[in-house]
Subunit: 315 residues, 2 copies
Amino acid sequence: MAAQRPEVLISEVAPRDGLQSIQSIMPTAQKCQWIDALAQAGLKEIEVGSFVSEKLLPQMADTGTVVAHSRQHSGLCVLALVPNLKGAQAALAAGAHKLSIPISASEAHCLANVRKSIAEMLEELGHIVRAVEQYNATSSQPPVAVEVGISTAFGCTLQGSVSEHAVLTLAAKCAAIGAQEVGLSDTTGMANPAQVKRLFTQLHHDLGDRAGAAHLHNTRGLGLANALAAYEAGVRTFDSSQGGIGGCPYAPGASGNIVTEDLVFMFEAMGVSTGIHYEQLLKARAVLEEFLPNEPLYGMTPAAGLPKGFQWPTP
Amino acid sequence: MAAQRPEVLISEVAPRDGLQSIQSIMPTAQKCQWIDALAQAGLKEIEVGSFVSEKLLPQMADTGTVVAHSRQHSGLCVLALVPNLKGAQAALAAGAHKLSIPISASEAHCLANVRKSIAEMLEELGHIVRAVEQYNATSSQPPVAVEVGISTAFGCTLQGSVSEHAVLTLAAKCAAIGAQEVGLSDTTGMANPAQVKRLFTQLHHDLGDRAGAAHLHNTRGLGLANALAAYEAGVRTFDSSQGGIGGCPYAPGASGNIVTEDLVFMFEAMGVSTGIHYEQLLKARAVLEEFLPNEPLYGMTPAAGLPKGFQWPTP
């Protein structure tokens, strides 16, 4: 029975973006069980961890093991965040399918986030791209891809507004260096739909099929409106987080990352297929809730339930 | 100093939709003080109450006094909800500028909400339109307008899905009977952006400048995405509620009505002027908070604050 090809790709970031924001460390077996439930729900791309210093983020120390486990799900793209060449080498050794490199459009944020300037990060990206090319040349597996997420693409809490020209210039440089995809991240929840539409439209114009994901936050309640604007601008890959965990929420009730459950409901209600089973997604949410009993989970659709008579399409 | 003409009209519904949903009764003097603060913030249309049976809604028993008080704000359209001719006569006597009549697209909801069938409500609308025409013929004031809000236009918790054809046919009948504006209400929070865009686009096609407001809920988190879709379909009047009060929230954290503060931020961030002062709007919110200390107020922008460096345009 051939599954219908989803029209949008939901890239689940909670195991990385969510768990790294939480004080407590989820045990490896629990991470794997939750990722299994997410894969069961039909998620086709999951950012399962990041290869960073254990001292900085002890929550991510087991990423190699988690990557190796996640690779068992056929059809799942196992994504890992890497901030530098060392991280990329570890990710390749562990068997990650795709590497995600964060480069900020704001110099101040770049220094704060990865302790490197934008210029230094571009140099690092070059090293990573070459390491991946060498790896792919000798590997019998499908080629590993490199994506860049341009952080603070819509504004920065440190420097304030960020020039759209600077964002697009940086994106073009990343593509020229060899990133297969370059996406834009609203790291600080400052984006608005007009800006999202303008920037992604131009990104598609400049980069063609190298224009990547929209990574949006719901800090000021505009997350799904921004996702709609990105969709209208041609974006077909959306980062989101189960239960809205992670993404530096500012205030109680204010999730950081947009909530996978609500995003998926929006697309399915619009008739845009995501390939995700809603009931299975709620089962994965229950797993997360069990493992993080003291963390608030966000999402309005899980609270309200699906509308009366709503037929979730079987993926 | 001429104020820039706002590009969208925000119609504040909290004094009616919010206060009628709350058990406690806000004293008349407090209602008036809060409405004064809303008018100070630049709101140009406020639904200040409803003319309904005191037994059914004791919270609205003082609507006549509140209308009379609100009329003192020059440039403010004082809107009152009326479910029948008797209510309309009371609203005209009190001096309301505009009457809002709720007619459901779902027969089951119509009976539950106003204890009349759709056919009976259309007959009632005819009586109201004629009463207003007679009133206007002898009045020295600007003519009173009649608007219809089509409830459950995007789905019904009683009957499930609602046919788009039924909604548009009903809207056309209301306009033919003489309503100056016919808007669509997502009473149950079941709308999605594709449906909102489709229905409002067709409404504008069918009714021209009689196509009215979008009244949207945030039950499943899609409220602002739906507002964006309505804006793109040509809607320029949006109902919303300060602090998101009212609109039958389903669950904690799930507001019913879309939140005025977030909606106004979205439009201003997009460069679409609302004519509203944000700081004054927060002052009105503080007044509401003081008068309803036990009610949760929603809104992500008030919690997160405006983005760093964000320049709110002076209306």
